[in-house]
C-alpha cells in the first residue's frame, strides 16, 4: 500500500512536471524591442553572436553549455540571484547575424512565462552608420490554467519580458559604444 502510494505520488510528480513544461494558456504573447547602437553590425555581433556568452545581459552572472553555435546547443544561465534558466539554440545564421533559442526550463517566479522562444538580430541601422539590434520573443503566460492570478497573467508576462529586453539592449549599447 505504502509502495503504491509512493509510486502514485512519483507518477503525479512526473505528470505535474510534464504538465508544467508543455501546458500553456490560450494566447501566445509577443514582445519586440530594438535599439540603435553607434557601431558597425559586425562589432555588435562579435559581442552577442556566441551562444555561450551571455555576459552582456545584466542579470546573468555565468553561462555554461556545450556544442558552441550548433543547432541544438544548450546553455544554462545562472543569474545573480542564483536562479537558473536553461535554453536551447534552434536557429543560427552568422550571415544574417541572427539566432533563435527557446527556454527549456525556468521557474515562473524568475520569468513568468512558459513555452518561450526568442530571436536576436543585428542589422545595419537606417542611416547605414550604425546597427539596429532587435530582440523578439514569443511566449505564453506563466499560469497554464484558466483564470490566472495577476502575477502570472498575460500582462505580467509581456511586462517582464519587455523589461528584460530593454535592460539587456541598453546594457549592450553601453558595452559596445564604451568599447569595453
Amino acid at each position: 500500500m505504502k509502495a503504491t502510494i509512493g509510486r502514485l505520488a512519483a507518477a503525479l510528480a512526473v505528470l505535474a512536471f510534464v504538465g508544467t513544461a508543455w501546458a500553456h494558456g490560450p494566447t501566445r504573447q509577443k514582445t519586440r524591442e530594438s535599439i540603435e547602437i553607434n557601431a558597425p553590425p559586425a562589432k555588435v555581433w562579435a559581442v552577442i553572436g556566441t551562444f555561450h556568452d551571455m555576459s552582456w545581459l545584466p542579470p546573468v552572472s555565468k553561462t555554461e553549455g556545450d556544442k558552441g553555435n550548433e543547432i541544438g546547443a544548450t546553455r544554462r544561465l545562472t543569474l545573480a540571484t542564483g536562479a537558473t534558466v536553461d535554453e536551447e539554440l534552434y536557429k543560427y545564421d552568422a550571415a544574417t547575424m541572427s539566432y533563435s533559442y527557446r527556454i527549456t526550463a525556468v521557474d515562473v517566479k524568475v520569468l513568468p512565462v512558459t513555452n518561450y522562444s526568442s530571436t536576436l538580430t543585428v542589422s545595419p541601422s537606417a542611416d547605414g552608420k550604425g546597427s539596429l539590434v532587435e530582440w523578439a520573443g514569443a511566449f505564453y503566460r506563466g499560469y497554464p490554467l484558466n483564470d490566472p492570478p495577476p502575477e502570472l497573467s498575460d500582462e505580467a508576462a509581456v511586462k517582464a519580458v519587455g523589461g528584460l529586453y530593454r535592460v539587456g539592449l541598453e546594457a549592450l549599447k553601453t558595452k559596445v559604444e564604451g568599447g569595453s
Binding site: A23, P26, T27, K30, Y90, K91, S100, A138, L145, N146
Partner: protein, 311 residues
C-alpha cells in the same frame, strides 16, 4: 434551349457571386480580418474581443464561428454582412471549433476541461458535452458528418466521436502533442500535426489507427491538403513542409512568414493560405508550383485555427 442557357448563366453567377475569402482571427488585436482571396486584399475588419483564436466557416458560407478563450464565448458572424450577430456563452477555455457539414451543429473544444461542447447555433446554446482526452485542441468533422475528431494534445491521441450518439468510439495514439487535425475530402484519412514530436501522424479512419508518420520542421501546428500533397505549418522554422500523401515522402520546405499557424487549401486546390502569427500576414502559396505567390497584411497575431476559408 434559351431557358437552359439562362439557367446555366444564373448558376454561374450564383457560383461566382463572391470570391473565396479568408476569415482570419487576430488574437492580439482582438478582431477578425476578412481577406478577398481573388484580389489578395483585406475587405473588412470585425471587432471580436476575448482574444479570438479558433474559427470555423459553415459549408454554405453563411456563418463564421469564432472562439474567444478569454471571454469564454463563441461569436456568431454573419459572413456576408461582416457582423457579429450573436454570442454563445460556452464557459471554460474554448479554442478549437468545427461546424457539421449540414451547419446544424457546432463543436467547441474546451482546452481546460477535456470536453467538447456541442452547440446548437440556431438556439445559440450548449446542448451537450462529450468527454475526450486532456487539452482538446483541433477539431474536424468527416464530410458525411458522421464522425468528429478531436486532437487531445496532452493525451497524445485523437478521439473519434460518433456524432449521432455523441460518444467517443475510439482513441487513437499518435505522436507527441497533436494540435491541428485535418480530414481528407474522401473522409478516409486524417492528418494530425504533432507539436511535441515535430511530425505528422497519418490516420486511417476506417481502421482507427495510425498508419504512418511524416517528419516535418519545428513545432508543426496544422495541416492542409491539396494536389495530393500535405502542407504543414512549422511554427519555429517559419516554413511550410510539403509531403506526398501517397508515399509520405517529404517534397519541399517553403519559407513563409514567422510563426506560421492556421493553414488551409482553397476549394479548387490551387492555393494554400497560411496565417503568420509573428509577421501579421497571410502567405499565399501556389500548391502546384510550391512557391509563395502573394502576401496580405492582417491584424496582430493571426492564428486562423480551423476551417477559416469561406469557399
Amino acid at each position: 434551349m434559351l431557358r437552359a442557357v439562362a439557367l446555366a448563366a444564373a448558376l454561374a453567377v450564383t457560383g461566382a457571386a463572391r470570391a473565396e475569402e479568408a476569415f482570419v482571427t487576430n488574437q492580439l488585436s482582438d478582431n477578425l480580418t476578412v481577406v478577398d482571396l481573388a484580389t489578395a486584399k483585406p475587405v473588412a475588419s470585425i471587432a471580436i474581443g476575448g482574444k479570438p483564436a479558433g474559427v470555423a466557416v459553415s459549408a454554405d458560407g453563411r456563418f463564421a464561428y469564432v472562439t474567444s478563450p478569454d471571454s469564454k464565448s463563441v461569436s456568431v458572424i454573419d459572413a456576408a454582412a461582416r457582423q457579429v450577430v450573436g454570442r454563445i456563452e460556452v464557459g471554460g477555455g474554448p479554442l478549437g471549433i468545427a461546424v457539421a457539414p449540414d451547419g446544424a451543429t457546432v463543436y467547441v473544444a474546451d482546452w481546460y476541461a477535456a470536453a467538447i461542447r456541442v452547440v446548437d447555433p440556431a438556439a445559440r446554446q450548449v446542448i451537450a458535452s462529450i468527454a475526450v482526452g486532456a487539452s482538446p485542441s483541433g477539431l474536424a468533422v468527416t464530410p458525411d458528418g458522421k464522425l468528429l475528431l478531436s486532437a487531445d494534445r496532452d493525451d497524445d491521441s485523437i478521439s473519434v466521436i460518433d456524432t449521432a450518439t455523441r460518444e467517443r468510439r475510439a482513441s487513437i495514439k499518435v505522436g507527441s502533442r497533436p494540435f491541428g487535425v485535418t480530414i481528407d475530402a474522401e473522409g478516409k484519412r486524417a492528418y494530425a500535426a504533432n507539436v511535441g514530436s515535430n511530425d505528422v501522424s497519418v490516420i486511417d479512419l476506417a481502421e482507427a489507427h495510425e498508419i504512418g508518420r511524416v517528419k516535418v520542421g519545428l513545432r508543426p501546428y496544422a495541416v492542409a491538403l491539396a494536389q495530393g500533397r500535405g502542407f504543414v505549418t512549422d511554427q519555429y522554422d517559419g516554413k511550410v513542409s510539403v509531403f506526398d500523401l501517397a508515399t509520405l515522402a517529404p517534397l519541399k520546405r517553403i519559407t513563409v512568414g514567422d510563426y506560421p499557424e492556421g493553414i488551409m487549401a482553397t476549394a479548387d486546390g490551387q492555393r494554400i493560405i497560411v496565417a503568420n502569427w509573428e509577421s501579421n500576414t497571410l502567405s499565399i502559396i501556389d500548391a502546384v508550383e510550391l512557391k509563395v505567390v502573394g502576401e496580405v497584411k492582417v491584424g496582430d497575431g493571426p492564428r486562423a485555427f480551423g476551417a477559416f476559408l469561406r469557399r
